[in-house]
Structure formats: structure tokens, C-alpha cells
């Protein structure tokens, strides 16, 4: 007699977890959040709480003295902000600062990074060290040295250029000096980021392209730069969001926002409102506006970086 082969049947699995009481499992689900807790607590105390307080202060009039009362004024601080001429011109100068820094944070690092790939071994390390060194100099110390270099009478800059410019006391040159010194300072960081981005692109693509008949220039334009674009968008984001902060210690040491406000950018302006004019409400209102404005810009750039990012496999 013929009988069909019984289908394969696995023995039933005894659920080991089902035997255990459900409590440990619930604790298990909590574990990741417990790990996050210290970080979240720090964020709450040092970021979210001040942020909320800034919002609150922007609706009051207060001179920062703990003894004097904070008077609610509604939207008056915002109205004042938009009628003051400082605000618009600080925005304009911030834009100039950002544009002026882009060569230092994107153009030069890309050129340096592409050239550095041709340098190998010990020389490459020395080269990277040289480029990176300025970042290790404390901004205020760097500013002191630059102040000395930029001295109108005996400074090395004027001697080398053969000029007699009073760098830090004339509006145009002061802004230029702030841009160049900030750029000098962050260049190493940007080069490092670009080098990391380039290191993440395997040589296979350039080799395949070379065999496909592409010239060096074509490989750079068609393969390397497009694959580097997420890194470049990241640097753009950093520059836009942080340019004013990067330049702050230099401005505070070298020009105090002058001459005649020529180097006052948004970040310095709100600090000036708060801690020079002791107008906490106005400073906070400026802070809120910049927070929202930069938030929108950052959102746009993050969206852009998602769009250009290439998921290499």
C-alpha cells in the first residue's frame, strides 16, 4: 500500500518568555529611555529651559537687575526691534560675513582636499597638521596676536602689503579683517571635514571612471564633487548657522562691534542689547527672531542635504 509522506512538522516551540512574569519585560522596554535620560536632562536644563525663558523675557521689560521688577509689555519689544535701524543692518552684515566665510569653509577646503589626495605618507600628515593648527589656537589668544599684526603703524600686515590701513578702525577693512581672521581660524576644521568626506569615497569610482575614459577633471566634476555634496551642504549649514558665533570672540576682542557698528552682526547685536544696554527684553526678542529665522534656514538646508545625499549602496 502506498501512503503519502507526512509533511515535515517542527515540534512546537515552548515559549520561554511566556513563562516569566510580564514585569521584567516592561522594564526591558524602558531601558533605552533610561540610557537617554541623563542626556535629555542636560538638554532640558541647559537648552530648553533657557530657550523658554528667552521667550518669556522677550515679552517683558527688564534691566537684568535681580532687584528690579520685570514689567510685562506684550509685543512692545518686537515692535521696537523692527523699528530700530540696527536690526536690518546687522542682518545685512551677517549675510556679508557668511558670504565672506564661504571661500574659507567650502572653496579652499575642497581645493586643498583634492590636492592633498596626491600627497602621500609622512608629508600628508605634516600638511594636515599645518592646515589644522589654527583651530588649536584659542580664539582670544589668536585675536591678540592678530591685533598686533594688524597694528596700523608697526603691524606686519601693513609692512608686507606696503599699506597704511588702520585695519580695525575703518569700517570696510574691519569687516574684512574679521572675516579673514575667522576664516583662518575655521579653515582647518573645514579641511578636516572635507578630508573625511573624500576618504569616504572609495577609489573604485575614480578608477572605474578612469577606465571608462574620463580625464582627471571629468572625474572631479562628475564623480568626486557630486559624491562630496552632502559634506559640502553640511559645511554650508555650519557656516550659515555658526558664522556669527565663530566671529564673536574676535569681534569682542578686536572691534567691539565697531567702528560705528561696522562689524556688529546679529549675534553681537543681541549680546549688545542684553549685556551692554541692559535691555534684556529687547535682546531676548532679537534672540527669538534669530532663533526662528535660523531654524527655517537650517530646516531648508537639512532638506537639501537629504536630497543630495547619496546612499552609497
Amino acid at each position: 500500500m502506498l501512503a503519502t509522506l507526512a509533511p515535515h512538522e517542527a515540534p512546537p516551540i515552548v515559549d520561554a518568555t511566556a513563562v516569566r512574569s510580564p514585569r521584567p519585560r516592561r522594564v526591558g522596554a524602558l531601558v533605552p529611555y533610561l540610557y537617554l535620560l541623563p542626556g535629555l536632562a542636560l538638554l532640558a536644563v541647559w537648552v530648553y529651559r533657557p530657550l523658554t525663558q528667552t521667550f518669556q523675557i522677550s515679552f517683558v521689560s527688564w534691566n537684568l537687575l535681580p532687584t528690579s521688577p520685570a514689567r510685562p509689555v506684550g509685543l512692545a519689544n518686537y515692535e521696537r526691534l523692527f523699528t530700530l535701524p540696527d536690526f536690518g543692518s546687522a542682518l545685512g552684515r551677517t549675510a556679508v560675513l557668511i558670504l565672506g566665510l564661504l571661500p574659507f569653509t567650502i572653496v579652499v577646503p575642497v581645493v586643498v582636499g583634492l590636492l592633498a589626495r596626491r600627497v602621500r605618507g609622512r608629508a600628508a600628515t605634516v600638511y594636515q597638521g599645518l592646515v589644522f593648527a589654527p583651530l588649536l589656537v584659542a580664539p582670544v589668544a589668536g585675536a591678540a596676536v592678530w591685533q598686533w599684526l594688524l597694528d596700523p603703524r608697526s603691524g606686519a600686515v601693513n609692512q608686507i602689503l606696503g599699506t597704511t590701513v588702520n585695519w580695525l578702525q575703518e569700517p570696510g577693512p574691519a569687516q574684512l579683517a574679521i572675516i579673514v581672521i575667522t576664516g583662518w581660524h575655521v579653515l582647518g576644521f573645514a579641511v578636516l571635514v572635507v578630508a573625511a568626506g573624500l576618504a569616504g569615497i572609495t577609489d573604485d569610482y575614480a578608477e572605474a571612471a578612469a577606465l571608462d575614459g574620463a580625464t582627471r577633471g571629468q572625474i572631479t566634476r562628475w564623480i568626486t564633487l557630486p559624491m562630496l555634496s552632502p559634506t559640502l551642504v553640511f559645511l554650508l549649514l555650519m557656516t550659515v548657522l555658526l558664522a556669527a558665533q565663530w566671529s564673536f570672540p574676535l569681534i569682542d576682542t578686536l572691534t567691539h562691534g565697531g567702528p560705528a557698528g561696522a562689524t556688529t552682526n546679529v549675534y553681537y547685536l543681541l549680546w549688545d542689547y542684553g549685556f551692554h544696554s541692559f535691555d534684556a527684553g529687547l535682546g531676548a526678542a532679537a534672540g527669538v527672531i534669530f532663533f526662528l529665522g535660523f531654524g527655517v534656514i537650517a530646516g531648508g538646508l537639512v532638506w537639501l542635504s537629504e536630497k543630495v545625499s547619496i546612499h552609497d549602496n
Binding site: 578608477e207 578612469a210 577606465l211 575614459g213 562628475w222 557630486p226 549602496n313
Partner: protein, 368 residues
């Protein structure tokens, strides 16, 4: 259409000699397979042909033209990388068209070439996708299409099938062979898979530690391995090798060792008392009664291959494998007697590992 000649090609990486004085003449239209174990220098050799790794020494000629120092883009060669190296930010169509775009061909020509190649390889629906949206097999085909699109002098393929599953690999193997037949171009194909080598190659070059062990057709390499390395590397299960001493009895040579008294054919007096390595392939061994057998040993393990069985036997110190239809009727621990035809016995020099061949004059090592 290209003939590739390689002369004394060497590449050193510090202390390591990855490729050591390799010389091969690859005639136009050949399908040469570079075969060898991992790390033997196959990729390095291929990359030197492509121009991606500069040689330390030696020359490469393409159709008689010395290309040793010519940059890759001027070599008229196309390569398929093991990683495929598809440009991740470009669509399939742009990837395939890239070699033509780099050569500044007109848009219409690029489009029509891409269209032709994708039709041949059945990639029509994938043209607007990016590499990351493709399966491994599809990526492999796109990489192949990119190589095919501009009709290069020769194709260099670095283990293009190693990322595919077994079924797809078999199918792609047949397709590549068919493609080679239709195009008639020169192919240099790197692999460590002997089945790939045996089935696709018109000629196989076996590499070991950067040295060329043998170049020949698949049957030459299988039937007359030039060295013990080739004998052990090609064929599954590997050819068993046992060391023995030759004895001349009545004009006939016998290989003798513990458990071994095997006739290996006629011989000359000079051959007597010579130490040799004796090799016999698993399919050429037959089972006989243990008492009078020329090879006597013990079964250590029997493997079931489905249609056949393979018995691993210990003869003296050496391992021999027997292969035959199921069931062989053997079990681990059994005493076993084996025999073979003298014509299926391979003899090697124990010192150099080179094959010993019969010559009209006394037996000598092969020179190559």
C-alpha cells in the same frame, strides 16, 4: 580586437611580491581565466593590465603597442570590478552611457548605444533607477553593460560573479560565454572558482603566490597538471598525492611505499630508485579486494554527494579519495583496496613539484 602580451610582469608591495615575473600571451579573441587561491595576485595582475597599478617590472603590449606606462583611459580596455563600482549618484542609463559621455560623443549616439546594450542585456525597465535600487544580479548586468557600451578592445573582469547566488552564477556564466562567442573580443576573467574557470575559459592561467604555475586549455590543465599545486587546486575532490619510490621490474615501473605497489607503466633503468609524488584523481580509482590491491588503506570518511559518494582513504601517510556511484559500499574504518590504470597516474618531482613526463630519452622534469 586585441592581443595582450605580458612579459616578466612583477609587482612588489614593500616586502610582498604580489605578482612575480608573469608572462602570458593572450591571443585576440581568447577567453583567459586567471585562476588561483585568494591572495595569489590575480587582482593585482588584472589591475596592472588595466593600468590602475603600475608594475614594478616587466612590460605589457596591446596589439604590439607597449602600454606599460599608458594611463588607463587611453588603453581601450573595459573593466568590471568585483564591487561593480556603479556610480551611486547616476541613474542606470547615465551609468551605462558614462564611457561615451567621457569621450564626448553626441547625445543621440549615446542614447542609441545605451538603448541597444540595455536591450541585449534585458535592462530596459531599470534605466531610470539608481544603483542602490538594484539587486546584486542587476548591478552586475549594469556593470557589464557599461563595459559593453563602447566596444572596447578587451574586457577585464575581476570576479564579477562572486556576489551572485549559485543559480544566478550558473546562468550568468553561460551568458558570459555566449557573449564572448558573439563578440569575439578578448576576455580576461579573474576567479578563484575552478568550476567557473573550467566552464568558461578557452585557456586557464593558474597563479600561485604571484607565480604562474601553468597556462593551458581546461582539459590540458585538468588532464596534465604541470605542478602539484595545479593538481591539488583543480578538481574536486582534490587529487590525492602520495610519496613513493620507483622500482624497475622487468622493464615496468612500480611505485612503492607503505601500502603501495602500483604499476605506473614502462620505464628505463635510469628511473629506478627515484623518489616521486604519485597522484591519481578520485574518479580514476577503482575498488578491488584489499588483499591483492596495488593500493591498500583504511576508509576515514564517506561523503554523500547525492548522485555519487566520495570516500576519503588513508594509504600509508597519504590521503586518497575515491569517487563512485552511490552506494560505494564503504564505511569509515573499513579496509579498502584500490587500483587504477597506469595512464591515469600522474608523477611529480618531489623537490620542485613539477610534473614528470615520459620522453624518448630518460625522464626529466618539464621546463616551462
Amino acid at each position: 580586437m586585441s592581443r595582450i602580451q605580458i612579459e616578466g610582469l612583477t609587482r612588489r608591495f614593500g616586502q610582498v611580491t604580489a605578482v612575480d615575473h608573469v608572462g602570458i600571451d593572450i591571443p585576440d579573441g581568447d577567453f583567459l581565466v586567471l585562476l588561483g587561491p585568494s591572495g595569489c595576485g590575480k587582482s593585482t595582475l588584472l589591475r596592472m593590465i588595466a593600468g590602475l597599478t603600475p608594475p614594478s617590472d616587466g612590460r605589457i603590449l596591446l596589439d604590439g603597442r607597449d602600454i606599460t606606462h599608458i594611463p588607463p583611459r587611453d588603453r581601450d580596455l573595459a573593466m568590471v570590478f568585483q564591487s561593480y563600482a556603479l556610480y551611486p549618484h547616476l541613474t542606470v542609463a547615465r551609468n551605462i552611457g558614462f564611457p561615451l559621455r567621457a569621450r564626448r560623443r553626441p547625445r543621440t549616439e549615446i542614447d542609441s548605444r545605451v538603448e541597444t546594450v540595455t536591450r541585449v542585456l534585458g535592462l530596459g525597465e531599470l534605466l531610470t533607477r539608481r544603483p542602490r535600487e538594484l539587486s546584486g544580479g542587476q548591478r552586475q548586468r549594469v556593470a557589464l553593460a557599461r563595459a559593453l557600451v563602447r566596444d572596447p578592445g578587451a574586457f577585464l573582469l575581476d570576479e564579477p560573479l562572486s556576489n551572485l547566488d549559485a543559480t544566478l552564477r550558473t546562468a550568468t556564466r553561460a551568458e558570459l560565454t555566449e557573449l564572448h562567442r558573439r563578440l569575439g573580443s578578448t576576455f580576461v576573467h579573474v576567479t578563484h572558482d575552478q568550476v567557473e574557470a573550467m566552464t568558461m575559459a578557452t585557456r586557464i592561467a593558474v597563479l600561485n603566490r604571484g607565480r604562474l604555475e601553468q597556462v593551458g586549455t581546461p582539459s590540458e590543465v585538468y588532464d596534465a597538471p604541470a605542478t602539484t599545486f595545479v593538481a591539488g587546486f583543480i578538481g574536486s575532490p582534490a587529487m590525492g598525492l602520495l610519496s613513493a619510490r620507483l622500482d624497475l621490474v622487468d622493464g615496468g615501473l612500480y611505485a612503492r611505499a607503505e601500502g603501495v605497489d602500483l604499476p605506473v607503466g614502462p620505464g628505463d633503468p635510469e628511473d629506478g630508485a627515484r623518489q616521486v609524488l604519485v597522484g591519481v584523481r578520485a574518479e580514476h580509482l577503482a575498488l578491488v579486494a584489499p588483499s591483492t590491491a596495488p593500493l591498500r588503506g583504511v576508509v576515514r570518511l564517506v561523503e554523500n554527494l547525492g548522485s555519487e559518494e566520495v570516500a576519503h582513504c588513508l594509504v600509508g601517510e597519504a590521503r586518497l579519495t575515491v569517487r563512485g556511484p552511490r552506494p560505494l559500499g564503504l564505511a569509515a574504518g573499513d579496509s579498502v583496496g584500490l587500483t587504477t590504470d597506469p595512464e591515469h597516474v600522474h608523477l611529480f618531482d618531489p623537490g620542485s613539484g613539477r610534473r614528470l613526463v615520459r620522453t624518448p630519452t630518460p625522464v626529466t622534469a618539464v621546463q616551462s
